[in-house]
Symmetry: C2
Subunit: 510 residues, 2 copies
């Protein structure tokens, strides 16, 4: 990158010019902003007399976002608990980072996708952007806290100003669920564990058969080199290849030639490679490939793949992985192995030419990202995977809808009911006893509710038991304990009510 003195001076001159123009533009914008602010104020004043009446704007969540209702949340929490169990089984801790970062932290990490980043308004102070993923914040965390090694999971929402396709489960606010291993270790050991983690998670969620596609960034680069792609076109050609899971090779080739200015011969060579997929035998074949075997980075990538496939073998997941040269993944920061898990159902759809929603998991190795944040450029190698939980939620929700499974979101064990009027205070007294005894209980918020209404509520809400208070029983120091389903009733002594109820609950498996 050394340049002649003239070039540098020229650059400095142009830079100065640019800065001057930017300043001028900024000032112009500020003036306009002021004017607009004034006008808006005026507008507001004019419509002040509306502010008392109920609001006029259409009530909605921001474009590409949504609320989760109690049923959706209990499904989500049950899925996330299964995922977390696997993460913990592999010794992962969890951390949390702010939902926004200094804009500078995110710049230059996402290549062509950077335009999708949400920025916050400059309200005086720092310039902030919403996190785009959980990987860059992790790298920032590692560099900032001088962490030399960490195995962590992080489940949180990320933000992308993408074109939402709710029907396909693509949103602008969505959960990411990441597992990463940072530290300097022997080749492919953490990488293989990530594949194992993906396989364990996807198996535990019973969302159907899946395959984890594997490829290597160095092999891709070596392949591009072998296909005479100019160095400065590697990244953009790579993100073209990345689209192969959504569009046909013909379209990708067209993009390479027409949009990215690649010559047809190179494109065709690439086309031959990206058709290939298989296992250890394919690695061997490519190690002997006339074009590739003379490209250093290609050979490095293939050696890594060889080791990774061997470890996957030992981990007993040979049949769940596939070495696939069409797997690219657009993100700039990958430096080694890359993964993507797809449901086999999707594969069929893809052959049928239908667009699929996307992968259920993906990730890879990014050894240089932390170094971008370290003032001395100190590197901490990282590898990780992200579980596409939103996709999993969507699949399970449609499954439940199909099977008409009714999820019970509340966990109430006992409903405290009264058989007739005038028992409210006694009801509250016993209810309080149950709560203090750790029993999940509720009651009607009516002072004198009808017994039938209370019992119907129990049945609708699938509350297993009801405590029914009545004067005659209370005089005898007992209350009725009713099994809502069988409608069988027994008498429990008020003196040690909590113990008696707990005994019944555990007996009946609650």
């Amino acid at each position: 990158m050394s340049e002649s003195r003239e070039q540098v001076q020229e650059q400095i001159k142009v830079q100065g010019e640019v800065v001057r123009k930017l300043k001028a533009a900024k000032e112009a914008k500020e003036k306009i902003d002021e004017e607009v602010a004034k006008l808006l104020k005026l507008k507001a004043k004019l419509s002040d007399n509306e502010s008392a009446t109920p609001q006029k704007f259409t009530l909605k969540t921001p474009k590409g976002t949504r609320d989760y209702n109690p049923d959706q949340m209990s499904l989500r929490l049950s899925v996330l608990n299964k995922v977390i169990e696997v993460f913990k089984k592999h010794g992962a801790d969890t951390i949390d980072t702010p939902v926004f970062e200094l804009k500078e932290v995110l710049t230059g990490k996402y290549g062509e996708d950077s335009k999708l980043i949400y920025d916050l308004k400059d309200q005086g102070g720092e310039i902030l952007s919403m996190r785009y993923d959980l990987t860059v914040p992790l790298a920032r965390y590692i560099a900032m806290n001088k962490v030399s090694s960490i195995k962590r999971y992080h489940i949180a929402k990320v933000y992308r100003r993408d074109n939402p396709a709710m029907t396909k489960g693509r949103y602008r606010e969505f959960y990411q669920c990441d597992f990463d291993i940072a530290g300097t270790y022997d080749p492919m050991l953490p990488d293989a564990e990530c594949v194992k983690v993906v396989s364990e998670i996807l198996s535990s969620l019973n969302i159907g058969d899946f395959v984890v596609k594997l490829n290597h960034r160095k092999l891709l680069d070596g392949m591009f080199e072998a296909c005479d792609v100019p160095q400065d076109k590697f990244r953009t050609i790579c993100s073209a290849v990345d689209k192969l899971d959504k569009v046909s090779w013909a379209d990708v080739k067209k993009e390479m030639i027409d949009e990215k200015g690649l010559d047809e011969k190179s494109a065709d060579k690439i086309g031959e490679y990206v058709r290939l997929s298989g296992g250890e035998e394919l690695v061997e074949k490519l190690l002997n490939d006339e074009k590739l075997k003379n490209v250093k980075s290609a050979v490095q990538g293939l050696e890594d793949m060889k080791l990774l496939l061997k470890y996957c073998n030992i981990f007993g997941i040979k049949n769940q992985v596939r070495f696939d040269l069409s797997l690219a993944r657009g993100l700039d920061y990958y430096t080694g192995v890359i993964y993507e898990a797809v449901l086999l159902g999707d594969e069929k759809d893809r052959k049928k030419g239908e667009e699929t929603i996307g992968s259920v998991a993906g990730g890879g190795r990014y050894d240089n990202l932390v170094g971008m944040f370290d003032t001395k450029g100190k590197q901490v190698p990282c590898v990780g995977v992200s579980i596409g939980v939103e996709r999993v939620f969507a699949i399970l929700e449609s499954k439940n809808a199909a099977s008409k499974t009714k999820i019970r979101s509340s966990e109430i064990q006992v409903y405290v009911a009264s058989a007739h009027k005038g028992l409210q205070e006694k009801r509250l007294e016993l209810l309080s006893k149950l709560w203090d005894g750790g029993i999940k209980a509720e009651h009607s918020y009516k002072s004198n509710p009808k017994l039938l209404v209370q019992l119907q509520y129990c049945e609708e809400q699938q509350i297993p038991f009801a405590l029914v208070l009545g004067d005659s029983e209370l005089e005898r120091g007992i209350v009725k304990f009713r099994d809502v389903l069988t409608r069988k009733e027994q008498e429990l002594p008020i003196d040690n009510l909590v113990e008696a109820i707990k005994w019944n609950l555990s007996n009946k498996g609650y």
Copy 2:
């Protein structure tokens, strides 16, 4: 609000004018944006050769925010689990809403605090703001989904551009932890349950003695009326009273007179009332107060308080609540009972004149908020409390620091070690067996680690057991199972290794 035909026409004319100017301004801005974009691209190209070098800006999280490391997270999760247990005991579901809302949703809900709202940059499309609390989003959710009743908890981060005081645990991004009951019910029943929930939670966290202060928005308004405060000054005077937990009466009085333009006589009358606090007897006393008993809203408020205190009595938390006329709470949307729980330690500090960090829980009734979002103004009465979990985290962290309690964030049960070189593949094979058997296990990411190093790691990480592989044992079909603490070893058969380990784990209470 009826206006003359001329006024309306005039407004329409001006409105049109405003809209036209706004359009023009928008277009002008867009032109500039384009130019700026071009210039920035050029600038970027010029400085491309810098992008390789490590970043220059100081690495930090945005002002008023922070990362949570694994130890902090495991403390947080354990606290939140206790809190959630109580919420579930009372039959609460959970929901989730987007982290940002249409700006219009938040406008006019927070009175003087609105200036603290984070806005997103206008990148074309909707104007968005970060949520300021979880209450307004809940009201929006209820109105939008036409929910008539819901009991929900919501734990999520909220955003306020406040002056951060990290030492006091005040951040710009922080967790809120809310429990709300929405629906039309008999007086004070949900309100009393909220107090009970607060009491159960604070008791379960063992952060010291506390008191839940109770007051009523209607009583406050009635009190202001009785003290001859002009109607249009109620809110602003209320938010002055709200500061009494941080500053002295003298300062509050000064603010009322100098800043809010209240006359001294009214201020002094208020001063007499806000000194009062007590229980049911105070309610009786105020019901007979010459000034108050003739003010309708004051009497309504007092009748509510009477009932609330009675229910708290039945719930067995009489000694944990206190009717306190100095409790105001600034937020505009409260309409009835208001709560605030403070640690008694703080009370002492306050008497000593030290500023305290704030309450550990607070909330109240807001019956008109949902109606503000319903196109027909349909109301859904709500009452709720927010647990100040950030404050709780801070207290427990300093406790742990003082007692030098070491939190163990990882849950690994078994570490798979090798006694000598050349065992890597066998190690991976057994490790995989353990994972597939549901045992939390890890190993060294070195191909040939030293045994001593591996065992030291187990002791540092407080991993209870180690599986030690050696050729001689492997030949005999067994492996050593080592208790890391006692260093006692026993032999386990490889054939049913998982069962043998599980048996040992449960025997030793893991």
